[in-house]
């Protein structure tokens, strides 16, 4: 438990799925960076360093999966709000399908249900 190789694997899995978690949070409502980052960080085990979300957001924006708008804030400087684009929502839907299949397959093998 907790050995280095397992840690590295978990980090890889987290890294690979993080962008879909971001898209999921941005699919139905727009959020500003800090709000989004805290939303992810509050889910246990999802994000270890909050700052690493910003490079991901920028990548998603350049890939056209999210878009951003600046809005005035009542409590300070303007905030950059992000929301998923149609392409982003499609990418999320594709991932959800694949992820369900993958998760079920792994579950069935790991939990030994494949034998029955």
């Amino acid at each position: 438990m907790g050995d280095a190789r397992q840690d590295a694997l978990l980090a890889q899995m987290r890294r690979g799925t993080l962008q879909y978690c971001v898209l999921a949070l941005l699919a139905s409502e727009e959020r500003y960076g800090f709000d989004l980052v805290r939303g992810l960080a509050d889910v246990d085990g999802m994000v270890t360093s909050e700052g690493t979300i910003y490079p991901l957001l920028s990548r998603l924006r350049r890939d056209g999966l999210v878009e951003s708008t600046w809005r005035e804030s009542t409590s300070g400087p303007p905030r950059r709000y992000y929301r998923a684009t149609n392409a982003g929502r499609r990418a999320l839907a594709d991932f959800q399908r694949e992820w369900s299949r993958f998760r079920d397959a792994v579950d069935s093998l790991v939990e030994g249900k494949a034998d029955t």
Binding site: Y32, G33, F34, V37, A41, T48, S49, E50, G51, T52, Y54, P55, L56, L57, S58, R59, R62, D63, G64, S75, G76, P77, R79, R80
Partner: protein, 216 residues
Amino acid sequence: MTRTGDHLVDEYLKRLRRELSDLPRARRRELVDEIAGHIEEARSGLEAENEAELRNVLERLGDPAEIAAEERARSGLGRRRGGWLEYLAIFGLLLGGFVFVVGWFVGLVLLWLSEAWTTAEKVVGTLLVPGGLLPAFLIGLGGLGGYTETCSSRVDPATGAELGVVCTGGPSLAARIFWIALAVICIVGPFFTTAFLATRMRRRAALVYEASAGSA
């Protein structure tokens, strides 16, 4: 209005900027602004700001090096280009000659090992001018200084008035022009090479960045 924790935040952002130094300026500024905005939001949410609370905010953000590594990975920049080894190469080529000449060769090896430059650029770095500024220094010492020029005043024996100065043993006009031209090349060359290698390296980093950003 300065707050007690400002120096912690400044220090953090300064480290982040340094870690991102090889990114295109626009992207670096954008990312640093976003992180700075995040810190602002977090600070405004604190009940009473004290150093411990602020340290927690920065710790949750993560090490600047980690954020920079993530940015490089997400943008496809991969290996850090224009890192300190590249700067050491440039520095070694310019001034390494003065470190027992070995320093220049260290710079040369680093230049050829780096992926930040094309072969043509490495050739320029090697040939203009071997030894960096050392040859210019040696020319200053040995070239013109190698002549022992003796000058004497001609004095009118009757009145004791000075008539003029006669010099012998100095370099001829052609030799003077040759040495001065060589000295100019040896001084301007290494500085040109330094600027050339530095700008090429940075521009390439920007191109790699945009190319990877453009491909989905």
